[in-house]
């Protein structure tokens, strides 16, 4: 035990000296993750703001020129999401010009409201009403027979690169405006019938009051809950990603020792290899923990200076610290594993970086887990980056405490123990004496 402690302390001190002597490498360990968090958060924030703040230009050709077409165009114009363009270079837009512009990729979306849309809606309303009225009132719309007309039609043209979210936004908006116009036309038709049958003339055509109000709120019992935004999502996501990227310098350190013969020399000395491994774990654990704290501080203090929302770290600082420390351990353990199983620096660099990217992808760093397919939603539970990310989301967005994130902590700690155990086993497996 005494020998273990001496070797552990000496190894920790040696690793710290080696890191401090490699100033450029050390700076990279902090500057690159900090830059990653800032750039990715800024980029993601811009993407989120496209629909909210930057209006999406939409080409519109209204061939209806009646209630339906006018209401659709007015609805789009009044929306905060869309900028309606119905003429280009001083000329009223035609359908062919619209299609050319969208096909060329100059605009992402083009809308054509087909002729007679309003008339068709009105005729179909009358037709439906006649189907419902008793036969003695079959002349309520006059003596002319009323036939079923084709539905009103809107054509929407998309540039092939248009994001699905934009498509959904425009289709939802069109459905909403169409429903409003349908209700308006229906109200008009019913008003006419009402007047004709009862002799009462209504004072206005349509409804003056909104009947349904939709309030957006986040489900929580905590009134101090942080509002989810790009910072609350991206800072922890990219921080976790960067923390796991320590596999490259750590694995490289292990392989360098192996290639220089230091590792072999150390194996000729008494005592366990575990002391040396734990020395590396301790040093790199401190580095990753410092990285993570730096990235969280960037979210709190620096990102607001760049015009982004401030990161709200929740109210359970102990839980936040324990989670960050456990993620640091898990990332260190993964580096030890890669460093012991990889055959060369090249192998460790390629396998280490690509495996972290894969773990990040399936862990929900880039794409939210709820948007993944059924199988991938199961697979995501295998990624330590997912356990880490969910722990942060729980603390930041759901105000979770230490007990709430215990399952995440347990999984991450077991991952660390497993990685170090396998790494230690691989390291000593080749060291079987006669």
């Amino acid at each position: 035990m005494w020998l273990f402690l001496i070797k552990y302390t000496a190894s920790t001190y040696k690793e710290t000296l080696l890191l401090l002597r490699d100033r450029a490498g050390l700076a990279m360990l902090f500057i690159m993750p900090a830059a990653l968090v800032m750039i990715m958060t800024l980029l993601q924030d811009s993407t989120f703001k496209v629909l909210e703040e930057k209006k999406l230009s939409v080409l519109v050709v209204n061939q209806d020129a009646d209630t339906f077409g006018i209401n659709i165009v007015d609805g789009l114009k009044q929306s905060k999401f869309f900028h309606v363009i119905d003429s280009l270079n001083g000329k009223v837009l035609t359908e062919s010009a619209l299609r050319e512009q969208v096909a060329a990729g100059d605009y992402q979306i083009g809308i054509v409201v087909r002729p007679n849309a309003t008339r068709n809606i009105r005729e179909n309303m009358k037709y439906n009403m006649l189907q419902q009225l008793p036969d003695e009132h079959s002349d309520v719309f006059g003596s002319d027979s009323i036939a079923l007309s084709p539905p009103a039609s809107i054509e929407v043209f998309f540039d092939p690169v248009t994001k699905n979210s934009f498509k959904q936004a425009i289709i939802s908006a069109l459905r909403e405006y169409s429903s409003l116009v349908e209700a308006k036309v229906m109200f008009g038709v019913y008003s006419g019938v009402f007047e004709d049958m009862l002799g009462i003339k209504l004072k206005q055509q349509g409804m003056s009051t909104r009947m349904v109000n939709i309030n957006e709120q986040y489900a929580s019992t905590d009134e101090h809950l942080a509002v989810p935004n790009s910072v609350q999502h991206n800072v922890p996501a990219w921080a976790v990603f960067a923390m796991f990227f320590v596999v490259i310098p750590l694995a490289g350190n292990l392989i360098k020792e192996r290639e220089s013969g230091v590792s072999l020399r150390l194996r000729t000395m008494p005592g366990s290899d575990l002391a040396m491994i734990m020395g590396k774990v301790t040093t790199y654990f401190m580095v990753i923990l410092s990285q993570a704290i730096l990235m969280l501080l960037i979210g709190i203090y620096l990102l607001p200076l760049l015009g982004l929302p401030q990161l709200k770290p929740g109210h359970h600082y102990l839980a936040l610290f324990v989670l960050t420390a456990t993620i640091s351990l898990a990332a260190t353990g993964y580096g030890i594993l890669i460093g012991t199983i990889a055959g060369s620096q090249e192998q460790s660099a390629i396998f280490g970086s690509i495996s972290v990217v894969i773990l990040a992808a399936i862990g929900g760093v880039w794409i939210p887990v709820f948007m993944m397919s059924g199988v991938m939603q199961v697979v995501t539970k295998l990624s330590p980056l997912n356990w880490s990310l969910n722990g942060y989301y729980d603390i930041f967005l759901r105000n979770a405490n230490l007990m709430d994130i215990l399952p995440n902590l347990t999984a991450l700690f077991l991952f660390f123990v497993t990685c170090v155990s396998i790494g230690w086993w691989v390291n000593t497996h080749k060291n079987q004496p006669v």
Binding site: W2, S260, G261, R265
Partner: protein, 251 residues
């Protein structure tokens, strides 16, 4: 009490690496007495480093046994490792640490601490003429200086047995001389030395006994002068070596 003649005992040692067509070490029997400087000589790929690796506990043998001072590496690994010092062929040091930091680290890996370790380090640095460079990083040292630090790192705990794999490879005459003088000195103080080299003159002058191995087999063992005399046409160890191992080029 261990028989001093069998201080290191190798019996029927066989090592075959996975997927290899032949044994790297093939039924090797050797005994090395306490206080000897024993030279293990052979061409490239003869099995010298494999034998040394088995003796150091780095790799396991396919068959046979090895004991050091009556202890088996398998049953008493830590006791055996405390008895031995190893100086590998590679400069197994940290370039970014100073000479003193390197030596303190490797000393601690043997369980040495405090004043005794610091004194040991200072004494050896002085002995090898490196005191004025002790706070300089190893990465900036010459090949000879690195070799000297590489040697000190293996003897800080004052082992009973010292294994050296090509300790003078690639260095100048002065550094070679300092190292060989030192090896004679610690041998006179009781350290048993097992040494591999390609320098036949060096081995002839340094070793009390030598063994020549080739293709993992023992070709000859004895006192250098007696071996040379007993082989007709040999005037020195190099002649003997070429006679035993042939003149064909090896990888």
């Amino acid at each position: 009490m261990t028989n001093k003649q069998d201080f290191i005992e190798i019996k029927g040692l066989i090592k075959r690496y996975p997927h290899a067509e032949a044994n790297a070490v093939d039924h090797l029997d050797l005994t090395i007495a306490q206080g000897e400087i024993f030279g293990l000589l052979g061409p490239n790929g003869a099995g010298k480093t494999t034998t040394l690796s088995i003796l150091c506990g780095l790799i396991s043998a396919t068959a046979g046994s090895v004991s050091i001072d009556g202890l088996s590496m398998k049953s008493h690994p830590d006791q055996v490792k405390q008895l031995i010092g190893v100086v590998p062929q590679e400069i197994a040091l940290f370039d970014k640490l100073t000479a003193r930091e390197n030596l303190l680290y490797f000393g601690q890996m043997y369980g040495l601490t405090g004043k005794s370790l610091r004194n040991n380090v200072e004494n050896y640095l002085r002995r090898f003429g490196l005191t004025d460079r002790k706070n300089h990083r190893i990465g900036n040292f010459s090949g000879g200086m690195k070799r000297r630090i590489n040697l000190i790192a293996g003897i800080l705990h004052q082992p009973k047995i010292l294994f050296l794999d090509e300790p003078t490879v690639g260095i100048d005459v002065h550094s070679t001389n300092v190292i060989l003088e030192f090896l004679r000195e610690i041998n006179q103080q009781g350290t048993t030395i097992l040494y591999t080299s390609h320098h036949m003159n060096e081995a002839e002058n340094l070793c009390s006994r030598i063994a020549v191995i080739d293709y993992g087999k023992l070709m000859a063992v004895g006192i250098p002068a007696e071996l040379i005399r007993s082989h007709a046409g040999c005037e020195n160890l190099e002649d003997l070596f070429l006679q035993l191992t042939g003149r064909k080029l090896r990888d």
